[in-house]
């Protein structure tokens, strides 16, 4: 399911996370699989925890990183799709 600018997201209650040295480890309690997020992914996760929608994430990241809007959009959407596919996050489209 494509994510849109006003897409909101909910982190699964079965996910535990810990940030360390700018990266994040995610644990899915259901599958007992774990995932790693690099510093940019960690920043996205922090914004997910705060309940920001996609447009808000883009705005924050563009202000924080020197990267083109298109590249950013592509990378963030890819990450979110992966998190959704893994069942760690669900999309709540409020368009």
């Amino acid at each position: 399911m494509p994510v849109t600018g006003k897409s909101g997201f909910r982190i699964s209650s079965q996910v535990l996370s810990q940030e360390v040295s700018g990266e994040t480890v995610l644990l899915d309690l259901r599958s007992e699989q774990y995932f790693g997020l690099d510093p940019v992914g960690t920043r996205v996760w922090q914004m997910l925890e705060k309940g920001l929608d996609l447009d808000e994430m883009y705005a924050n990241l563009l202000a924080e990183y020197e990267v083109s809007g298109d590249q950013l959009k592509h990378d963030v959407e890819a990450l979110l799709q992966e998190l959704i596919r893994a069942g760690l996050v669900s999309s709540q489209d409020s368009a």
């Binding site: 480890v25 644990l27 309690l29 790693g36």
Partner: protein, 381 residues
């Protein structure tokens, strides 16, 4: 809090082999060139030694905070990073289960403490995941053994070991298919007869402190935890007493104590008759990590105890421990199970232990088990 401002005397300096020497130098905060230039240690072999010593996360942290002054092969850092992330994930899962377990215990009024690495990971390490451990150690009273087993068995856990002969039983989540999590429920602090009765549950409980991050959980005080760490590393022939993570525990505990606590440590160590074990732990930690041990502490720990009474000497033998096990276990059923585990284990266990498949071997194996058990347990060693 700070250690007494005395210049520590030079302790016995046992040279370390490579790569342990380089690992320790790194953890002392020194800038260390890649060890391969000093002894031909490959990156793979180096990582394996770091893993053996249980210090991947701590070494990684030091590499990353060196400000670029330490340049080691990328493959070393990547391997340690993988280990650290796995440890963090495992710790998240472990913490989740420990919280459930302590909640169950609280509902039933069962007192329990986290001990050893599981406790220290939460009290003395930057993050619990930095203190790698392969299981979680908890301490309960002997009279709570059956209640704990019934409670955990009816709440998603299963028992995967004997209960009495090693003074502990292990539980794992019921749906676990491989060894990821294991919770060892000890009813004595240590298994070795020399140390098993040095500290009772009630003694530890009376000075215990809350465990950060696990609601309702308690752990031994720093003094008790340090003594436990010193005894644990010497209490078994099946493990390496010079494993660096155990010495690092001692280092962190010792350096977190002020002069008053260190003085109290000496006093309690002498009264418990374990000052030699504590001195050995301090000495080794000083060699590896530069742990500052004030003169007054060293001289205090070198003090000889009064000669032990015959009852105390007996208490520290296999036979003495068995007699006391018999005494502290709450009922006849527990005592019968103790004897059964020691001298008459299951046929499956015996066949597996001696690598046999044919049940015709059993009479001979049982005879061997009984004689061997008697030779080990019914002695004044």
């Amino acid at each position: 809090m700070a250690l007494a401002a005395e210049k520590p005397a030079r302790l016995l300096n046992i040279p370390l082999p490579e790569p342990e020497s380089s690992i320790c130098a790194l953890l002392r905060g020194e800038t260390v060139g890649w060890p391969i230039s000093r002894g031909g240690v490959s990156a793979e072999a180096f990582v394996e030694r770091v893993r053996h010593h249980g210090v991947p996360a701590i070494v990684l942290d030091r590499l990353r905070t060196s400000g670029g002054s330490i340049q080691w092969p990328r493959e070393v850092e990547d391997a340690l990073d993988g280990d650290h992330k796995a440890s963090i994930a495992l710790d998240l899962l472990r913490s989740h289960h420990l919280q459930s377990i302590f909640r169950l215990f609280a509902q039933r009024g069962i007192r329990c403490m986290l001990i050893k690495g599981e406790a220290l990971a939460r009290s003395h390490y930057r993050t619990p995941g930095a203190r790698i451990r392969c299981d979680s150690d908890l301490l309960i009273r002997p009279e709570n053994i059956i209640d704990v087993q019934q409670l955990l068995s009816s709440n998603g856990y299963r028992i995967v070991s004997s209960t009495y002969k090693s003074h502990q039983f292990s539980v794992v989540p019921s749906d676990q298919t491989d060894v990821t999590l294991q919770f060892d429920m000890h009813w004595r602090t240590l298994n070795h007869p020399e140390f098993a009765r040095v500290m009772s549950f009630d003694e530890l409980w009376s000075d215990s402190v809350p465990v950060p991050g696990i609601d309702g959980a308690r752990m031994p005080s720093a003094i008790d935890a340090l003594q436990l760490a010193c005894m644990h590393r010497l209490g078994s022939t099946s493990h390496d007493p010079h494993r660096l993570i155990w010495l690092y525990d001692i280092h962190l505990l010792a350096t977190s104590m002020d002069a008053e606590e260190l003085a109290r440590l000496v006093e309690v160590s002498v009264s418990r008759g374990i000052q030699a074990e504590c001195l050995d732990g301090f000495s080794r930690a000083a060699t590896c990590f530069g742990t500052a041990v004030p003169d007054v502490v060293q001289s205090g720990l070198r003090r000889a105890s009064a000669p032990p009474s015959w009852t105390r000497r007996l208490a520290r033998t296999h036979l003495g421990l068995l007699l006391n096990d018999w005494k502290v276990l709450p009922d006849g059923r527990s005592r019968r199970r103790l004897l059964g585990e020691l001298f008459l284990p299951s046929a499956t266990f015996l066949l597996g232990r001696y690598g046999k498949r044919n049940r015709l071997w059993l009479p001979l194996l049982y005879l061997r088990q009984v004689l061997g058990g008697a030779a080990k347990r019914l002695t004044l060693r």
